[in-house]
């Protein structure tokens, strides 16, 4: 079997171009289709499979429903869009309990309501043994505000919202790989169980017209920045000592003798926004996000010429391109 990247490359070669209405096909957070003058439609679809993407042993039904909606809406946020409509396909083993399903649907609906998204359809199928969900979300964005992955330029600063590595640490706690006897890391666990899509922040950033490139962090910084670089035809340097990490993550790492940088670089599912801006615009944008939305953006690296993502750590320099989460390698 191929890796996920090889497989996506294979599918990408099948993708058609040459349609004036299609602004982007595969290769960004969403497909982008011209809807009317000045207005673009965004389409994203993501699937979650039991025992690959989630584990019912620790994932409550309602939180899982919330997450199924949030991870798709996050792709709309990553292009500075507004999510509008959702479609939910459910694959249910025959032993699925009605109460469980009620909880899942309620959580799913909660997140749609929080973002003003309407559920318009889907499909229900029987599954052999694993629960699975496939969600499609349609959104829209003004042509002047959209942020692609492909616009990064050498010299740009790379900014990240929030903190990185929390979701991966929370997952490790859920798995019992990291001890949490006093429930001290409940905030990290929440970041895994119920990530939030940064729709308001994405819209604000798109509206600023200062962002050159953006995506959401779903596969770990090392892989996410590598995607951005690949689409933009540039390289990047990441500064290890600048990675934004929560107090909880630092404390957990220290107590358990872990490298928090590893979680921040390679842990997936943070659903923060990663973006690049010209150096001269960065300070004002960071200040505006803090003042108007209470959102922190942290300078984590720089776009350079060439290729690849280099980590600069204590004088050392190593290539970390695509060393994040791979859906065909990782297991929960």
């Amino acid at each position: 079997m191929h890796s996920e990247r090889q497989l996506i490359g294979q599918i990408r070669r099948l993708c058609g171009g040459g349609d004036a209405q299609v602004i982007r096909g595969i290769g960004d957070d969403c497909a982008v289709i011209r809807q009317s003058k000045g207005l673009l439609q965004l389409v994203t679809t993501d699937a979650l499979v039991e025992n690959i993407h989630f584990n019912l042993a620790w994932h409550p039904a309602g939180k899982l429903g919330r997450k199924a909606a949030s991870v798709n809406i996050s792709d709309i946020a990553a292009m500075a869009g507004t999510p509008r409509f959702a479609f939910l396909t459910l694959g249910l083993p025959t032993d699925t309990q009605s109460a469980w399903l009620d909880g899942f649907l309620q959580g799913f609906k909660e997140v749609l309501d929080e973002h003003g998204v309407l559920l318009l359809g889907g499909d229900t199928v029987k599954s052999v043994e694993a629960l699975l969900f496939s969600v499609t979300v349609l959104g829209e964005v003004a042509e002047e505000a959209i942020c692609f992955r492909s616009g990064a330029r050498p010299g740009d600063l790379i900014l990240a919202s929030g903190t990185l590595g929390d979701a991966a640490a929370g997952l490790a706690v859920c798995k019992g790989r990291l001890a949490d006897p006093q429930g001290r890391y409940i905030a990290l666990v929440a970041r895994h169980l119920d990530p939030r899509a940064k729709v308001e922040l994405g819209r604000f950033l798109g509206g600023s017209r200062k962002v050159h490139a953006m995506l959401d962090s779903s596969d770990g910084l090392a892989t996410d920045v590598a995607h951005l670089c690949e689409e933009s035809g540039v390289g990047a340097e990441i500064f290890a000592d600048r990675l934004p990490m929560s107090e909880a993550l630092r404390e957990l790492a220290e107590r358990q003798g872990l490298d928090p940088f590893h979680l921040a670089l390679s842990g997936g599912e943070d659903y923060q926004l990663l973006l690049t801006v010209a150096e001269e615009d960065a300070a004002a944008l960071v200040e505006a996000c803090r003042a108007q939305l209470g959102e922190e953006l942290t300078f984590v690296g720089r776009i350079v010429g060439g290729r690849g993502v280099m980590l600069l750590q204590g004088g050392a320099r190593r290539d970390i391109s695509f060393q994040g989460y791979d859906h065909f390698k990782a297991q929960p």
Copy 2:
């Protein structure tokens, strides 16, 4: 567990209305969203799960790829639309062979190319043990041409394209439940393995402005007509001796002592179009389809007041509402 209908009903109650841009949510072949003045967008999504919807023992990779595309495109055809863009989510067990995947993708792409549909994205995930595909197709239709399920009126004739029951008979041959020593029923098997979406016919019917209601036949006539009646708030009478059946199906039924009516009424996956028209328009429409497209439409029943779908057979009259295929009951 609920039946598929109960589950869809539960999800339907979560669906939002109250948006001026939304023409239809759940309850028709596609969701319908206003795109621009006079132009509507159609959205449909369907999932296929190994050992529920297909069996690799008899389904070649290329045919399965074709079918994954066709069954979704058929939903666009059922609303008289033109399919435009497709999104493919693949759930692959780790032992999936590259050659198999190549064949699947090639078949999928063939059907997209036949209909001028562009593949714009999707998702690839690892699956525990079953192959699964989830496909979303976007299409468009002029507001004046769209055919909903909900427009049937008492007195309308019910017409069906092509022949019914062939795909179910073909599936029974694949399963070895019906013997086929000389490969005599290869055409029936092809109807199961590689159904064709009736896009051209759907567009022609929509363009005629004579169709009151339409859907595609995916769950067997008894269930499909029941859906149409439910959405239109009417009842129907089906005339058993008028059901269009292929010579191959009649011959197979006779040789093996089967009731071909059962296959035609309850067998799913024919992907023919079922439609209702005023009695005075029927003959001209049938003749136009035959002359201009070489497509046969057969008069199979009549819309009546009241509720339910009654089968009229040899003087007897029985309620067959929703006695077709249920994804939560059937097994391949």
